[in-house]
Every structure is written in C-alpha cells, then in structure tokens.
C-alpha cells in the first residue's frame, strides 16, 4: 500500500499521509477504545493500589448491571425506546423520501431538500429546546388541545418517555430521510411503471419493487437513527424527567457523580456492543453488506 502511495506522491508526501492516517486511526480511534474495554474489566482502585495485588481483571463491573434492577430496566428501556424511535422515524420518512425521489419534479425536490437541510444545520440542543417549550405543561400544545376540546386538563408530556421520543424523531429524522432518498433515487422509474401497467396495486408495487430496492438506504437510516437514539444524551436530559432516564445518563453519573470510571467504562462498552449488535442484526435482516451501508 505504501508503495502505491510513493508511486503517486513521492516518498516525503507519502510519509506525511501515512503518518497522519496512523496517528488518527491508532491514537484517536483504536487505542482509546481498547483502553476503555481494558478499564471496564478492572476494579475501581485508589491511585496507590493500581498495579498492586487487587488490580486484576474481572467481570465485577458487568455483574453490577445485572444485579441492579433499576439500571437493567433503564438499559432495556433504552433499547426498546430506541427501536420505537427508529421504527417511527422510518414510517414518517418513507413517504417523504419516496415523494422527493420519484414523484416531485427536480425543482420541487430541490426546494424540499433545501427546506430539509436548514433544520439539519441547526444545533441539536436548540432543536430539542424548541420541543421543551412546545411540550411544557403551560405550553402551546396543551393550550391548543384544550382549545380544541380534546383534553380537559393539560398533560404532562415531559414526565414520561413520550416527550423524549417525539424529540428524538425530530432530531434524527434527517439521518433517515437522506439515505432513503439516495437509495430510492437510483430506482429506475420504468420499473414502477412496468409494475403498475402489469396490474400491481400501489401497495404491492411498494412491497415488491420499491422497498426491496431501497433496502440499503433503509438499513443505513435505521442504523444511524438507532445509534443516535441509543447514544443520545441531550434529548433525554432536556425533555426527560428523573423517571425517564436514558442509559447514557447512568453512564454519565458513573463518571461524574459516582466517580467510578471503571464501572462507567463497562456500561459504555455495553452500549457500544448494543450498537454493534444492532448493526449486525440490521445487516442480516436486510441482507446488505458493510459496503452498502457506508455508501
């Protein structure tokens, strides 16, 4: 590989390229992850005890999670809610992505894409904060529902999972729409027309022609959305309450309130495994490779 680089750029520049690449991948990407895993299998010790007889590998930090009913509950709730967020985002995004890719004229699509991109550029915290105002007990949503006569008393949107999930769908929807749009755009419109001419219903055309073609896009969108949802700290911190804590908040507490980094590292590693597991699952279900996803 280095030889190919040298042939093209000459030795000095190739050394520079290789050095930058290696520093990034080794010092920033690989080693920190490995050290985090290493940390998670060690006990939390005083600085003087490190390297001493007590400093040995064990599964203690992982056992803690399984013995703690509350943490375990939050772990599974985080998985379940993230799956729900992903599914909800997919359902909301699909019609729009299909419209953009196959129904809209190029001009309409360009305008819609611009409109979509603008909120995407805005800080996640600010987008979440907007929902905080809307969902507040005395906020506009409750006022509107009351004015319409749909509810008698204001609802506490911010004390359950509902508010968190609404905020997440909003925050991550574009990570679903763009991969879907990219995948759908490459579908030959003649295939849809052919299916229609041969008498397939709209539902059947989508199910048999369009969705199979969009698989890589669906997979990418689901992976991104799930990863962002499961790893989100901002949205549950802003829109949640103590009763709707997210697993990331437990991790944060181990680091900055519990002062037990080893324990926090174990929890963080579990979160990482969860995300890797989800990626593997999605790739298997949709029968796509890593190469399709990275596109």
């Amino acid at each position: 590989m280095f030889k190919q680089l040298c042939n093209r750029f000459g030795t000095p520049i190739s050394v520079g390229i290789a050095a930058l690449l290696l520093v990034w991948l080794i010092a920033l990407v690989i080693l920190p992850q490995l050290l985090m895993v290493d940390y998670s299998f060690r006990p939390n010790l005083l600085p003087s005890e490190i390297g001493g007889p007590k400093d040995s590998y064990s599964l203690v930090n992982y056992v803690t999670l399984f013995n703690n009913k509350i943490h375990l509950g939050i772990f599974f709730k985080t998985i379940w809610s993230s799956v729900m967020v992903t599914a909800l985002t997919l359902v909301v995004s699909y019609p729009l992505a299909f419209y953009l890719a196959k129904v809209a004229t190029p001009k309409q699509a360009a305008l819609c894409l611009l409109l979509l991109i603008i909120p995407f550029w805005i800080n996640e915290i600010l987008r979440t904060f907007s929902w905080y105002i809307i969902l507040a007990y005395n906020g506009p949503l409750n006022a509107m529902l009351q004015a319409l006569g749909l509810i008698d008393r204001p609802l506490r949107f911010l004390s359950g999972n509902g508010g968190v999930m609404v905020g997440m769908v909003y925050a991550y929807i574009l990570f679903m729409i763009f991969p879907l749009y990219n995948a759908l755009e490459s579908l030959d419109a003649n295939q849809i027309r052919a299916a229609r001419n041969l008498g397939a219903s709209w539902a059947k055309t989508h199910l048999r022609i369009i969705i199979p073609h969009a698989k890589p896009g669906i997979a990418t969108g689901c992976i991104m959305t799930f990863m962002l949802a499961a790893g989100s700290y901002a949205v549950p911190a802003l829109l949640g309450s103590p009763g709707s804590r997210w697993f990331t908040q437990i991790i944060y507490n181990w680091f900055f309130e519990g002062g037990n980094w080893n324990q926090g590292a174990a929890y963080a590693f579990l979160l990482l495994i969860l995300c890797i597991g989800f990626i593997g699952l999605v790739m298997k279900v949709f029968k796509v490779g890593l190469g399709d996803i990275a596109k």
Partner: protein, 270 residues
C-alpha cells in the same frame, strides 16, 4: 374524484404537515424570544420586548463559552483537515486487500455513539495525565469529524483526472510541485466546504464534548445547562441568533454548491 387525484391530495397534505412539524418548533422558539415573560413561552403573550437580547449581551458566562467554542472549532479544523485530506488521498490511491478493513476503521467513528468517543478519549488521555479541557475536546471531536472531512474530500477526488498528474510528471514536475500546483488547487473547494462542516459540527457537538470538556464549557453545553437551571428567554435570544447565522450559512453554502454543480454540468456539456 379518481384515485390518482386522491393520492395527489394525500401527498400534498402529508408534505404540508411534515414541513409544519419541521419548522413550527423553531418558529415557536424564536417567537418566545420577544415575549415579555420571565419564562420562555408564547402563551400567554405579555407584550413585545427586546430585553432578552440585552440580557444575553451582558451574560459573561455566555461570552466565555462562545470563546471556548470558537477555540475548539478552530483547533478541530487545524487538526482534522490534514487528517481527512490525507486519508482521502490514501483511499483514492491504494488498491488491495487491506483497503476495506482500513476504510471500515475510518468509518467506525461515525457509527460509534458520541458519548463513547468522549469516554474512550477521556480514559486514554488520563493515562497520559491529561485531564478534560479545550485540548481534549479538540482531540475527541477530531476523532469523528476527520471521517466527515475524509468523505467530503474523497467525493471530489473520485472525479479527479489522473492524466493531469502524468502530464505534469512527464513535463518534469516534482511530486511536491504536482501536489502543490495541481492536487491542492483541485481539492480547494472540497477543503473549504469540509472546513465549514467541521466548524459547525464542532460548534454544535454536545454528546462527545460533555465527557471531555473538564471545566471549559462550550456554548452548546452552556445552553443545555441553562435549559435545566436558570432558564430565561435569554436562551431563546441566543438560539435565535444561532439559528439566523446557521440559516444564512446554510443558504450561502447551498448557493455555492449549486453554482459549482451548474458549472460542472456546463463543462460536461461543452
């Protein structure tokens, strides 16, 4: 009414609802800035005021955090741009067995939750006796922002005409001259776009920064802490300012991108 026009109306209704959903929160947040109320809300409307901009202006914590954010973003640009460009050049040059593996490694920070990047960076540097702060924030953010830069530069490199290099080489140019006079000028638009994206990504990052910031609060972290403690419409004023800047930047970026696209397709037609 045929099913075709019914479908059309359905699509229209869906689009309208979708874009209302997309923009209403931002509009409500912005409007609440001007409400003369102690708490950010739009109802009840207590009258128009600009006093929250004044309060924001006099908020020293905000200025401090803004300064930190700018330093971090500048640092990320300086560290991550060379890395991203180098990796893009690497990927556009080498072929062979290990390439897919290296590529997956490079993409992995984009598929890793931000909190985990923050945590692993914090733990790694603790071993070197470096604690959280601006430096560590730059390092942690670079871990994943470099990957974005790599992708953007790579996209442009894939359209690069390699005969240019060969021509220069046979005319006696050195490797360094080719890099300096052909490659870098060709990549310049992508590098500028990548720099803008890197700056914004860094500026708005929360999940990763939270773990490595130490006592140095960035603007995004500052906003989040204000929402939970001491929330006043001054936060909305800050949000409105940031939204205005972002929208202007986004539009400028889009206009620039489209001009380039138009220029490119014009070249192809010619």
């Amino acid at each position: 009414m045929s099913s075709q026009s019914l479908l059309k109306w359905g699509i229209r209704a869906y689009l309208t609802l979708f874009f209302i959903y997309l923009f209403i929160p931002l509009i409500i947040m912005s409007t609440a800035t001007f409400n003369d109320s102690r708490f950010p809300t739009i109802m009840p409307w207590k009258g128009f005021t600009l006093k929250w901009f004044d309060a924001l202006w006099q908020d020293e914590g905000m200025w401090q955090a803004l300064g930190n954010s700018v330093w971090v973003a500048a640092g990320v640009m300086i560290v991550a741009l060379p890395i991203g460009v180098a990796c893009a050049l690497f990927l556009s040059t080498v072929e062979g067995k290990g390439k897919t593996f290296v590529y997956s490694l490079m993409m992995s920070p984009l598929l890793t939750p931000g909190v985990i990047i923050g945590i692993s960076t914090l733990i790694f540097w603790k071993g070197l006796d470096v604690t959280g702060g601006i430096f560590l924030t730059v390092i942690a953010q670079t871990t994943f922002i470099a990957a974005y830069i790599m992708l953007m530069v790579l996209a442009r490199l894939q359209r690069f005409d390699r005969t240019l290099e060969q021509a220069a080489l046979s005319l006696g140019a050195s490797h360094w001259q080719i890099f300096r006079r052909i490659m870098l000028p060709y990549l310049k638009p992508a590098i500028i776009s990548a720099a803008v994206i890197a700056f914004l990504q860094s500026f708005e990052n929360y999940n990763t920064t939270l773990f490595v910031k130490g006592y140095d609060t960035t603007l995004t972290v500052y906003i989040a802490s204000k929402v939970r403690t001491g929330l006043t419409p001054a936060v909305n004023a800050l949000g409105l300012v940031m939204i205005s800047i972002t929208v202007l930047l986004a539009i400028a970026y889009e206009v620039k991108r489209r001009r380039e696209e138009a220029a490119n397709s014009a070249n192809h037609d010619a």
